[in-house]
Amino acid sequence: MKNILEYFEKTVKAYPDKIGFADASREVTFLETDLHVRAIGSALCACGEKRAVAILIDKTVNCIEAMLGALYAGDYYIVMDVHSPGERINGILNILDNPLVITDKDSEFVATDIGKEYLLYEELVQTKIDDELLSQKRKTMCDLDTAYILFTSGSTGMPKGTVISHRALISYINWVTEEFGFNEETVFGSQTPLYFSMSVTDFYSTIKCGCTYHIIPKQHFTFPLNLVEYLNDNKINTIYWVPTAISILSNWKVFDVIKPQYLKTVLFAGEVMPTKQLNYWIHHLNPAITYANLFGPTETTDICAFYVLDRDFSDSDTIPIGKACDNCDSFVVNSEGKLSAPGEEGELYVRSSFMANGYYKNPEKTAEVFVQNPLHNNYPETVYRTGDIVKQNERGELVYITRKDFQIKRSGYRIELGEIEAGANSVEKVKSCACVYDKKADLLVLIYEGAVKDTAVVLEAVRNHVPAYMVPDEVIRIKEMPINANGKLDRKALLATYKTL
């Protein structure tokens, strides 16, 4: 097997008339999807070899079909956040090598606003299918071909593109579907955006196993009663959400009013799951539900370690990240470059086919984290350093401790504070600025020094620079930024002083 579409083709054959994908406005069978994606693929084949296909479409069936269509043409896709500012969208498009842009009628204005030429989904699906051309394309491909690129926020202010091959995708999906026993009866309620690594799991599991994939309208997460009604109406039995989304239902004690009736599997990843909020689920819902904590970076497709809950945890306990996935060697290396002893903190390394090829057009960053295995030098063997500090507990389970650097995670999104600061620094009279994250209050606070009296001006500049989830909750102007002994901006002092403001 060399191409993820082989799973799709098996599923279309086995369950042609089953509903595969549904969004707020329509649902499609696998066969209908198949006809659309081969039409899109045939159209894209005429546009060149191994092109980057940037998809400017909201999370809908249209977007999914554009993704698969790009794969049919032997291209790789990049799903863009259509709600992020034009400056950021253009930033990514400018990094890509001569990209094709696909949009649909709903998001066409985004493509028009940024002034790029584009292809329209509604026209692409009308293309006559050319199966011979598609099979010729497939013959020239191998499993090292890129399937997609996911852009995350980069520390220099430039987004960083993680390049994922068909092989990585196939290897990862094999593990996740076998571990959790997904099959044609699995009904997913999908929460995560398609430009976020977690979205790979429920989507491609559906492709492989013939599940049903419901795209949950975003607004339901603001109004939790509607969310539970939605889960019940669609008989959703499996969810893979960020802990923030899971916690919404706990914080509102929604299950005191209404309960999801069909849930069997509850998976979460992307940030630390607060145990108190998870316990609310465990204590209020069917005890037969399986809960699992998944852990991993975009650079290992989605996940490298996992823990299926097998015992009770008190609200103050930390849920472990468990053990390495099958076909994925996750190991802990101490500051001397040797394997950590049990209980000793170290950095988590991964050696696996799940691994990305590296970062797009960024050899420096790639060389920093995709490195020779530190445990031997006998032959070339690239491993990935996650930058996560972990240790083994007394049960032999991995436990997450912290990030090695300043990068933060919020609602599952990886945020480099530097990118927010870059936006604020773009305002002429901002002298110095720093973005700090008050974890306890869950507030992203931008603090600056300079002759810009109106904080809204700075906020506006940031808004034009970063996606909505990175916009600070508070902007504060102070007279003088604190400096530490090394002459560097003192972030710790800043975090302490902002609380007194």
Partner: protein, 75 residues
């Protein structure tokens, strides 16, 4: 009303809360800001907003939020 507007401006700076009537519909208030708003309202007005009060209609404008607060204050 002034107290409410101050809370709203703290939660989401840079929005014209006096006139905006599509806070939910236009996604000006996302789920995280609604959660923060509700806890701020509970503290400031000594009320307890229930999940059953948490429906889009109650949060579309400063006026509708104020109406919710006043209803709960009376209870």
């Amino acid at each position: 009303m002034d107290e409410l507007l101050e809370i709203l401006k703290k939660i989401k700076p840079g929005v014209d809360f006096e006139h905006e009537t599509g806070l939910v519909e236009k996604r000006i208030l996302d789920s995280m800001s609604i959660i923060r708003l509700v806890s701020a309202l509970n503290n400031a007005f000594d009320i307890e907003i229930q999940v059953t009060d948490l429906v889009p209609e109650n949060f579309e404008s400063a006026a509708s939020i104020m109406a919710l607060v006043e209803r709960l204050e009376d209870e």
